[in-house]
Symmetry: C2
């Protein structure tokens, strides 16, 4: 559909805009990218491409800005290239590996690192936790009928929440219940043993059957509610970018960042099984039309880790992608130990 030259022009305009932050004019493109064609030729092409939806002009006498269609073309084109990661990645990997305090600590740190390295907002998410094996279940009586449920997933991720039971159980009873549940559940993901638990565990618990059942129901709620866990870091860095000098834009992003569930859903929705996914502007949602989302599944935690960046449309996609890929590949060791 696009001629070779048109394609080149689109890519050049996107590239130029990413580099400079200024609308790209025909003269610049001719001089820096397509030396063979004169500005006038470029102008003609640009007018066509604008009609085709690749560019727009902030005002008549300005250069062209890429639309999300153009970004899409650009991103698709660089996805085919192999990139080399910046030199600092080795240092970062080392720093990550030295974090020994557990999954939360590592992913929190990684999200901050990603943010800092790219001037975007770094995101690290664990998803599909219902597919991760359960390692341990504990109930701790907090007083009255309130019970703290502790669930440790393989790899050391800890879920916990308070639940209310219909009647009080002693700590011994709770331990007994936890033991029964553990016997069935440990070594399996919740998704797999969920139904079995409801059917079998409750044997021999006639007297407190209702209460134990309620405990299971609430456990299920916990594990479904928190079927993902999210870490966000480095939000302050996007303020370094000229794109977010406008307070309004930033506020949109910031309020999204505080809605953990919405963010987790977004990450889950746009990540793909393998490799980097880039979602651009309107492709995400109306509110996020000024932002892009770059996601990559990481090798850590049984491939249920997703790393990502939220940044401006004109983020440096090549750099972002290469950093994400490099860190993502490396995460496994750190998360298992």
């Amino acid at each position: 559909m696009l001629t070779e030259r048109q394609l080149e022009i689109v890519l050049s305009v996107v590239y130029e805009y990413i580099q400079t932050g200024e609308p790209a004019g025909s003269r610049t493109i001719s001089k820096k990218y397509l030396r063979g064609s004169s500005p006038a030729t470029i102008r003609n092409e640009m007018a066509d491409l604008e009609e085709m939806g690749y560019f727009y002009q902030p005002h008549t006498s300005a250069g062209r800005l890429p639309t999300s269609t153009a970004y899409r073309l650009y991103v698709d084109s660089i996805m085919q290239r192999r990139r080399s990661a910046p030199a600092e990645t080795e240092k970062w990997k080392k720093e990550i590996r030295e974090r020994r305090q557990g999954v939360d600590s590592i992913l929190g740190y990684v999200s901050q690192l990603l943010g800092k390295a790219t001037n975007c907002v770094g995101v690290a998410a664990l998803s599909a936790l219902e597919e991760v094996q359960i390692q341990r279940v504990n109930f701790v009586r907090l007083g009255g009928s309130t019970v703290l449920v502790l669930i440790v997933l393989e790899g050391g991720l800890v879920h916990h929440a308070n639940i209310q039971l219909p009647c009080e159980l002693s700590q011994d009873m709770l331990d007994e219940l936890a033991r029964k549940i553990s016997a069935v559940a440990c070594g399996h993901p919740w998704g797999q043993v969920r139904d079995a638990l409801f059917t079998y565990v409750l044997d021999g618990l006639e007297r407190v059957w209702d209460t134990c059942r309620e405990a299971l129901v609430q456990m299920d709620a916990i594990l479904n509610r928190r079927s993902s866990r999210l870490f966000v870091g480095g939000a302050q860095h996007i303020l370094n970018l000229p794109d977010f000098q406008d307070i309004g834009k930033f506020q949109t992003v910031l309020s999204l960042l505080e809605q953990e569930q919405a963010l987790a859903d977004m990450v889950e929705r746009y990540s793909i099984k393998q490799g980097v996914s880039v979602t651009i502007g309107e492709e995400i949602s109306e509110e996020m039309k000024e932002c892009s989302l770059v996601l990559v599944p990481a090798s850590g935690y049984g491939r249920r880790t997703i790393l990502g960046l939220i940044g401006p449309l004109r983020m440096d996609y090549e750099k972002s992608i290469s950093i994400l890929e490099t860190i993502a590949e490396d995460l496994d060791d750190s998360l298992v130990n």
Copy 2:
């Protein structure tokens, strides 16, 4: 030192500036607050007060702005008044009480609520956790010599972190160790049993003495490192304020918010045993000279909860304080259940 009228002028200027965000001129003060004195008189007084360090002028032909000395005077004066809380507090209290998922969830929610209600950044902190009774200790073997330590404090606050032991212990051994530690520690705060643990628990563990000792050392590190826990919420709201339209100022605050430890230290340092404390601008630190910090210890969690607000110098102190006081008083029930 200050005459009655001078005091009135200082308070009026602060009040006027808080309300309008504009420098207050002599004419305005005369008309709105001191009808008995002419602008000229006010001007004379203002010149004196400027010399005394209560005011400054952004430029010669502007009105006066309060210095932090003036804010201090203002805040001290309103601290003596009884305030009535806004009508919405009842609704908020109810919402808080309905949160049943545990301490973390409640405090996270409270911090967001505080932020939203005041257009400041809401903070909720648990401090001095070494003084809270330990309710349960568990070790979970994660593989290799990595062990997950789970510590439940009274009220259901969960601490957890991975530790590395010098040699591998079986899960049974770990359970045994946890039982021994629990026997001594449960029902007491860590600060009290810390030394006893090192001395007595290790009896009969000759063969793995080193390893168990290391476990204790690392537990100690965990409990000291996390002797406070912090929840921050509603950061986006301060962008509604004209004071933070300037990106630079906001970035300072935002980067502080991402440094959990620094923030926790700050909260701990400036809160007082009882009642509201207000720390203003330079009184906090050089970087925070554009902000005020309002803190109040809450009744929840054995008086180890601190609620707070971080906002601009010209925040509505009366409203902030009244909201903080009201919510703080009410927290107990929610945190215990």
